[in-house]
């Protein structure tokens, strides 16, 4: 499938918006959102949704940076992976695209670190601008990083979209053993995301809930929302059993003020 220049520009703008949205804290720089936009622009929603769902789960834990590790950026699978899956017309499965785009995700992470470092001088110029009474210039300093992010995002999205033909051709040279192996690996990759997030949240007293979730999913075949409700039931039972916490909630007369 050919990507037109207009589509490439739109993908660039979408990437720019999502990547800058990370700084705004509006949760746009997530695989599922990034791939949704690509699917919309290239008019292939089923592939985009499949890719987004798979990558979102695999990358879910990467956002939490356990122990100061630098996480791979979701633009890798969200934009590049989705482009691969859509333009190859099924030759590259979402699982393989996830594995193939992960090195790109790592490279983008370095671009992000570079942007933060490049902006390290802005506080100085911001202070100078304030002391000179030039608050317009201060605003420029205070928004440098987000502008830089938008530029990097556009370059990545646009560049990825127009060079996708070449990338797909290169993928053709990958032997089938490697490509099928990558698909197998792609199906296993979400384990890293889940384990990552469990390692941050997990405490010993939560082990029963790990088993609960497993039983609900594997034996009872409950859908996710069902599992979430079962989890809520147990959390609430636990909550009402703890007398101390109830006291704290009950004692403050002013509590209603903020809810």
């Amino acid at each position: 499938m050919e990507i037109t220049i207009v589509q490439a520009v739109l993908i660039g703008l979408w990437t720019a918006f999502c990547f800058s949205g990370m700084l705004l804290g509006i949760y746009t720089n997530r695989c599922i959102i990034l791939s949704f936009g690509v699917g919309l622009i290239l008019n292939d929603m089923p592939t985009a949704l499949a890719m987004g769902a798979l990558a979102e789960l695999a990358y879910m834990g990467f956002g939490v940076g356990a122990g100061g590790t630098v996480p791979p950026n979701p633009i890798g699978p969200g934009i590049f992976g989705t482009l691969m899956a859509i333009t190859s017309k099924g030759n590259i499965t979402p699982e393989a695209a996830l594995a193939l785009s992960t090195p790109i995700a790592v490279a983008i992470q370095f671009a992000q670190t570079f942007a933060y470092t490049a902006c390290a001088g802005t506080p100085e110029s911001a202070k100078k601008a304030i002391l000179a009474g030039n608050f317009k210039k201060f605003k420029v300093s205070a928004n440098t990083t987000i502008v830089l992010f938008a530029v990097i995002g556009f370059a990545l999205g646009f560049g990825g979209a127009i060079s996708m033909d070449t990338i797909i051709k290169l993928v053709d040279y990958i032997p089938p053993l490697l490509l099928n192996g990558l698909t197998v690996a792609g199906k296993m990759l979400p384990a890293i995301g889940f384990a990552m997030i469990l390692s941050v949240m997990g405490k010993k007293e939560l082990v029963p809930f790990v088993l609960l979730g497993y039983v609900c999913a594997s034996y009872l075949k409950l859908p996710v929302i069902g599992i979430a409700i079962v989890g809520t039931i147990f959390a609430l039972i636990d909550y009402y059993r703890e007398p101390k916490v109830v006291e704290v909630v009950a004692e403050g007369g002013k509590q209603d003020d903020w809810i």
């Binding site: 499949a50 506080p123 199906k187 384990a195 002013k254």
Partner: protein, 272 residues
């Protein structure tokens, strides 16, 4: 109260919403410092309308290193502004501002990053996996609705109440995040069982080889499923968990390990 008392409720709401701009100038020297100054700028411009030197000094002081959770920031900015507006100096209010940075970052991160995001992320992904557009839309709408509500609520809370409430707030928040943690862990364990897929394609004939009668074929996968469904995905997730928690493996190492297992497993015909 002494001081200028120039700020109205509206100023606090605007400042709370400006919390979205916290990281617009994020950098490796003062982190969110410039962003913090930018957020409170309109409000302190009002406070020091007739004292440009004081405005400049307060702005420069506000550019100090800062790093906290954007969604709980309005609580800090509101308290900070209440203090400045009632005549306290930047020096005096700085202590509170700096003291709140750490605890609120902890509460905010555990709620937004470890509970809300994983919860909606998994729900959205499972909807999307079924081909529903509602998945990504639900994710972005739900996350932003909740986080904006938190911004406004904490912002108004900081404005209404004094400094003494921080302890109470963190107790309540830890209860909320404990509940959210429990739900999150349950959901994530369930998803690990459904979304991590490891299949063993090996099969062999049971009993003697017999060409004519219906030979029963035994697959290893079928046997594993009888012992416990999704046994291998759960075990692999546990192994990865162990490597992260006990061995301190980074994501890169884990990705490389997984890719090697995938290729080797497929090459040897053990995995498909």
């Amino acid at each position: 109260m002494t001081g200028s008392n120039r700020l109205t409720k509206k100023d606090y709401i605007i400042t709370s919403l400006r919390a979205f701009f916290l990281q617009n100038g994020f950098n490796y020297s003062n982190y969110q410092g410039t962003g913090y100054a930018n957020i409170i700028y309109p409000a302190i411009k009002k406070i020091y309308a007739d004292n440009p030197e004081k405005l400049k000094q307060t702005m420069v002081d506000s550019c100090d290193f800062y790093n906290t959770n954007p969604h709980f920031l309005p609580f800090i900015t509101s308290l900070h502004l209440v203090m400045l507006d009632s005549g306290l100096s930047e020096e005096e209010s700085r202590g509170i501002k700096m003291a709140l940075m750490g605890p609120l970052a902890g509460i905010g991160d555990s709620l937004s990053q470890f509970c809300l995001a994983p919860l909606f992320s998994t729900i959205a992904a499972s909807l999307a996996a079924e081909g529903l557009i509602a998945g990504p839309i639900l994710f972005i709408v739900a996350m932003n609705f909740i986080l904006t509500t938190i911004k406004l609520t904490t912002g108004l809370y900081g404005y209404k109440l004094g400094v003494s409430v921080v302890d109470k707030l963190s107790k309540q928040m830890s209860t909320i995040s404990k509940i959210a943690n429990t739900i999150g862990v349950t959901v994530i364990a369930g998803l690990a069982a459904t979304f991590v897929k490891i299949n063993v394609p090996i099969s062999f004939a049971a009993g003697e080889l017999n060409a004519d009668v219906n030979q029963s074929i035994v697959t290893i996968q079928g046997m594993l499923d009888k012992i416990a469904p999704s046994l291998l995905p759960m075990l692999y997730t546990l192994i990865v968990y162990y490597l992260i928690k006990k061995k301190g493996w980074t994501t890169y190492k884990l990705v490389i390990l997984t890719v090697i297992i995938g290729i080797a497993g497929y090459g040897l015909g053990i995995l498909s």
